[in-house]
């Protein structure tokens, strides 16, 4: 079981408050992703849950018990670090067995669990190697193996994929998702990559300057961003945010429209513009359109391959049912 509850948690480093009072509940078995730009406090929040940093005020409950002053070793959580943090002087087998040795399990049980984890993670052939003799992906697996053998209340992942190359990252992303489906254990995953957040999470927590901007399922966040920050952060390419007279027409300070919710035409439409840079991905084409309606170029997605030359005059029509409206404070208007 791994229900984690943060109540009025704050964190200050010296005079600087990096996390203002924050409440958050992570349900048992949930895959929660903390996402935000670098320096938003997401890693700090994870380290507070882990117990590697002390909270300045508030409390943390794990499974209904107050864990605020419990040392990390006793919280029953396992962590996978960005740098993997494997023990370089131990073989893979000893690395994975380390938490079990610390828990004083008997040798037969240790062997059984280590072999089990190794076969799940395809590490059986590497058990007698040292971390230095492994590739990045294999090291990552060892780090995950070290976490799963303990059968922890929750897994904490601190940007575990950012040291891997792009192809490997996609593969490991799937492996971690599968692991979650199989174990059904609470997982908290920190990343700055909103694609990772969207694809893996049951619940996304968007953080900005230590403050939770929104909590919700990936699609909730995508379809109903609570404010302009979330609107701009979730989704790739980014949502177009337009201020000024176009927004006023819709009784808002800012309006937002996603690239796939704008129709592009060479004959007629709401906004007139000229094609700037275009990006051809095969499956989609993204146009950056310079337009009087917006000071910034608008990004427009066209399905499949569309060939519109640089400088072509086009007309854009936003689909009004997909228009997001935000007030002066940047908050969503329903």
């Amino acid at each position: 079981m791994g229900r984690i509850q943060l109540k009025q948690v704050t964190k200050s480093f010296g005079d600087v408050q990096v996390i203002p009072p924050l409440d958050l509940t992570i349900e048992d078995g949930e895959f929660t992703v903390f996402v935000g730009p670098s320096g938003c406090g997401k890693s700090t929040l994870l380290r507070l849950i882990a117990g590697l940093e002390d909270i300045s005020s508030g409390s943390i409950d794990i499974d209904g018990a107050d864990a605020t002053n419990v040392p990390p070793a006793k919280r029953g959580l396992a962590m996978v670090f960005q740098s993997y943090a494997l023990y370089p002087h131990m073989t893979v087998r000893k690395n994975i067995a380390f938490p079990l040795r610390m828990a004083k399990l008997d040798q037969a049980e240790i062997d059984k669990r280590v072999n089990g984890a190794a076969s799940v993670l395809n590490l059986t052939d590497y058990l007698d190697r040292r971390p230095g003799q492994l590739s990045g992906g294999q090291r990552q697996r060892v780090a995950i193996g070290r976490a799963i053998v303990r059968e922890p209340a929750a897994f904490l992942f601190d940007e575990p994929l950012s040291n891997l190359d792009a192809a490997l990252r996609v593969g490991m992303r799937l492996e971690i998702s599968e692991l979650h489906k199989r174990l059904a254990t609470t997982m908290i995953y920190v990343t700055h990559d909103q694609v990772e957040a969207m694809t893996m999470a049951d619940k996304i927590v968007v953080l900005h300057a230590g403050v939770i901007e929104q909590v919700g399922s990936p699609l909730e966040l995508y379809q109903r961003p609570r404010n302009t920050f979330v609107a701009g952060f979730i989704g790739s390419p980014k949502m177009n945010l337009i201020t000024g007279s176009e927004a006023t027409k819709h009784d808002a300070t800012t309006i937002g429209i996603r690239p796939e919710h704008i129709d592009i035409s060479e004959t007629d439409g709401t906004w007139k513009g000229t094609i700037g840079v275009s990006e051809h991905l095969g499956s989609d084409t993204f146009f950056h359109v310079l337009c009087d309606a917006s000071s910034e170029p608008l990004t427009v997605r066209a399905s499949g391959e569309r060939d519109l030359k640089y400088g072509t005059e086009v007309y854009l029509t936003p689909r009004l049912e997909n228009l997001h409206r935000f007030d002066q404070q940047g908050l969503r208007i329903e």
Binding site: K74, F81, A85, L86, F98, P99
Partner: protein
């Protein structure tokens, strides 16, 4: 692309390296050679390099006149004792500075190092008086404490630099894996830091062994180490070069042998942090 090194170039480099090595080693070699000469041959002009009557006479005279083993034993106790004591104090200090630094850590490190810039003779008088008051004059324990204090900044600095290279995340991983502080130090940090601790011990032992200012000034008979043993041969009785050389050879032999066998470890320890 690797730079092509021709055989000829290699030969020149090797010769040059040997020449420089011999030049540096020459005083020691000359001392050893002189220790096998008679007193007359030792001061002969022009000097005799190899073709003299090899004799062990000096060694037996030195042995007769003074108890080499006692000096050696004192050296071992002073150098070894101060090193062990220093490590016991410096390891926790360096640990906390490397892994739980405060905003004053850098200042403390520099301040510690600054004490090494103080001329030792400047504090000789107060320390001498303290030693008299505490009855530590000419005692091994007094020397162990003074030598430890003198080398402590270097030990802390070396260990600190070494520990700094160990990523903190690995220690945090151990904590997350359920290791207590004791287990974290025992199973994770110490095995990773052993090469650093070893070279620190080695260097410090050599520094303490060779230190002559404090050992000469604070000892007389009972606690006198090998430095005092050598010094006693440049005595007012006259210049006995051959015997002085024999004494010197006997005094430097243990540390020379130790250094020879541990040179790899020493070089690694001294250049650590500079080369990655």
């Amino acid at each position: 692309m690797a730079r092509a090194v021709t055989t000829q170039r290699k030969a020149i480099n090797t010769t040059l390296a040997w020449a420089i090595g011999l030049l540096i080693f020459f005083p020691i070699l000359w001392t050893i050679l002189t220790s096998f000469k008679t007193e007359a041959q030792a001061i002969a002009n022009p000097p005799i390099f190899i073709g003299f009557d090899w004799t062990l006479e000096n060694y037996s005279i030195v042995q007769e006149r003074s108890n080499y083993m006692r000096f050696l034993w004192n050296s071992v106790i002073i150098a070894g004792g101060s090193t062990i004591l220093g490590i016991i104090i410096a390891v926790p200090a360096a640990w906390s500075m490397a892994f739980v630094p405060s905003k004053r850590t850098k200042d403390i490190l520099l301040w510690m190092l600054s004490t090494k810039m103080l001329p030792a003779v400047g504090v000789l008088y107060p320390i001498y008086l303290l030693f008299i008051q505490l009855g530590l004059l000419d005692s091994r324990i007094g020397l162990v404490i003074v030598m430890m204090l003198i080398n402590l900044p270097i030990i802390v600095w070396m260990l600190y630099t070494y520990f700094r290279e160990i990523p903190g995340e690995i220690l945090e991983a151990a904590r997350m894996d359920g290791a207590s502080l004791r287990e974290e130090l025992l199973y994770v940090l110490t095995p990773m830091a052993i090469p650093g601790i070893a070279s620190t011990i080695l260097l410090n032992f050599i520094l303490a062994w060779n230190e002559a200012f404090w050992t000469l000034n604070l000892t007389a008979v009972d606690a006198a180490p090998l430095t005092a043993f050598i010094a006693s041969y440049s005595s007012p009785e006259g210049l006995f070069f051959a015997k002085l050389s024999a004494a010197s050879t006997m005094a430097i032999a243990p540390i020379l042998i130790l250094g020879w066998f541990s040179q790899k470890q020493l070089v690694r320890g001294l250049t650590f942090g500079a080369v990655k």
